[in-house]
């Protein structure tokens, strides 16, 4: 069973009268010879790791070996000022939490990569809390996100070294936007619109990690990716259309990634990594850690 485009998945849903989550269950069962239970068990393992990584970042001491990250998640979670209410503040803190746990050699679920692992957990945990959504439904939202990731990986790339950060935090934001839209009752078309919005906002985002470490700007980019997901989904659920269809937006990310200089793709030679301060930090880290 093969899907090459997001529109193939939508077509399958229409033909089989199934939603996108069930389409992905079919896909996995058939291609990997698994039972429905095995698929859901696997999803539950992923979700448990996601929830745990959020918890750890919010409750434990997390200072990365380089010293670049230092218990920021808790600082945000407990911040007295809220720009848009407690939910956005908490969602922001959750994304940072996972980034910090990852940098400190904690356990995370890549979604779709380790560098972008904060966005999906932050969005899902926030959806559970804000909308009182039971875990079982969240597993279906994970399935929907995997549909987006599947097509993105085929027609673009998750690798920062190929597609820059739009391949990592960009694709994660798109996957998360799809999940939110699905959980709030959006149809297949709206899910794809949300994906389009989220990717358009990430178009051309470079990968420029200071010192080559998955910390700065990765962690705060995850947090902003969460906001991207909620805003993109909000627009889609309101019924606005993303003039350029999501499949074409994905092809555009591939084109843009190919056009990007290798210096802006994970090599830590351009962008933030190459700023005066970025270079100084790099020198300092490698001296102290060595």
């Amino acid at each position: 069973m093969e899907f090459s485009l997001l529109s193939d998945i939508v077509e399958y849903c229409k033909r089989e009268k199934k939603d996108m989550a069930q389409a992905m269950v079919d896909y996995e069962m058939r291609n990997k010879h698994l039972t429905r239970e095995q698929v859901y068990d696997g999803l539950m393992r992923v979700l448990l790791v996601m929830e745990d990584s959020v918890d750890q970042g919010l409750t434990q001491q997390v200072i990365s070996p380089s010293g670049m990250l230092n218990n920021w998640a808790k600082q945000v979670y407990n911040a007295p000022i809220e720009t848009l209410g407690a939910s956005l503040k908490k969602a922001t803190a959750r994304a940072i939490a996972v980034g910090e746990v990852n940098a400190c050699m904690g356990k995370i679920a890549a979604a779709p990569t380790a560098g972008s692992a904060g966005i999906m957990p932050a969005v899902l945990v926030t959806m559970m809390e804000e909308h009182k959504i039971p875990r079982e439904r969240i597993l279906d939202a994970l399935l929907v996100s995997s549909a987006i990731g599947l097509i993105f990986a085929k027609n673009s790339s998750f690798a920062g070294s190929e597609a820059g950060c739009m391949g990592e935090t960009g694709s994660a934001a798109a996957m998360a936007a799809a999940s939110i839209t699905y959980l709030l009752g959006g149809n297949e078309e709206q899910i794809l619109e949300a994906v389009g919005f989220a990717l358009k906002a990430s178009m051309g985002l470079v990968c420029d990690p200071v010192g080559g470490l998955v910390e700065e700007p990765c962690t705060t980019r995850n947090a902003v990716g969460v906001a991207n997901a909620f805003v993109s989904s909000q627009m889609a659920l309101a019924g606005i259309q993303s003039l350029i269809p999501a499949d074409e937006v994905i092809f555009a990310t591939k084109e843009v990634g190919d056009l990007m200089s290798p210096k802006l793709k994970e090599s830590a030679q351009g962008g933030l990594a190459n700023t005066k301060t970025g270079r100084e930090i790099q020198k300092k880290i490698f001296k102290t850690v060595e």
Binding site: R45, V101, M105, K107, A114, S145, A159, G211
Partner: protein, 231 residues
């Protein structure tokens, strides 16, 4: 139809951070080396190449590889303390670094292990991203496998009929051969046989007992969840 990716390639791997290539993949290379040694290691000499050499500290590549050599999976939280645990287990190690070596993939490690009982093994592996690896060299022989399924690695004199003897021994156990790769270098054949299921020790012994076989090992898949997540 080519094999389709699993949705757990997208939602996963479940792993110890920070990097699927520099941490998760690195631990898997260490784990394969341990299996190829097939004994308790007492010493490891590890050479890191290219990007592995340059950024290992910040990514915990060193801890990940030592963890793998101790038998920890890529999602095992003990990786963080692997140097201390290695000391307790009586494992000594030494790292060497080669910054630029174009012949190798950017994330490559060479691991030489010495067993408590005298055996040694040397293996070169590359980490390809997403936790996937490629074993490229064993005991100086070029190989190419990803350790995602049960894999038998054999080094033998290149005698006529050797492949039939070996596949015969495996077929007797009702185990299916999924793939088989043979490479030859100066009268020595190297076979990498991927199987649908594990092979028992007796069959491995039987293969080992062919007079022309020099080396035979089973590498078990080290997939995510092999140190199962429980809550």
């Amino acid at each position: 139809m080519t094999e389709q990716p699993s949705l757990f390639d997208i939602l996963g791997p479940i792993m110890i951070g920070p990097s699927s290539s520099h941490t998760a993949g690195a631990s898997r290379i260490g784990y394969v080396a341990r299996q190829l040694l097939h004994d308790e290691p007492k010493k490891a000499i590890i050479t890191l190449y290219n990007s592995f050499a340059k950024t290992h500290k910040g990514h915990g590549t060193d801890k990940a590889i030592i963890g793998g050599i101790l038998g920890f999976g890529p999602d095992d939280e003990r990786i963080r303390q692997s140097p201390e645990l290695a000391k307790k287990a009586g494992l000594e190690w030494e790292f060497k670094f080669v910054g630029d070596f174009v012949r190798f993939h950017s994330n490559t490690a060479r691991i030489k292990l010495f067993a408590k009982n005298g055996g040694t093994v040397e293996v070169v592996g590359a980490s390809l991203g997403g936790g996937r690896i490629k074993i490229q060299e064993i005991e100086g022989f070029p190989v190419d496998f990803n350790a995602q399924t049960h894999t038998v690695v054999i080094i033998a004199d290149d005698v006529p009929g050797s492949i039939q003897h070996i596949s015969g021994a495996i077929a007797q156990r009702q185990v299916n051969i999924a793939n088989m790769f043979v490479s030859r270098m100066e009268n020595i054949a190297n076979m990498v046989i991927e199987l649908d299921q594990a092979l028992d020790d007796d069959t491995l012994k039987e293969i080992k007992n062919f007079s022309w076989v020099k080396f035979v090992r089973l590498v078990e898949p080290m997939l995510e969840g092999s140190s199962r997540y429980e809550k």
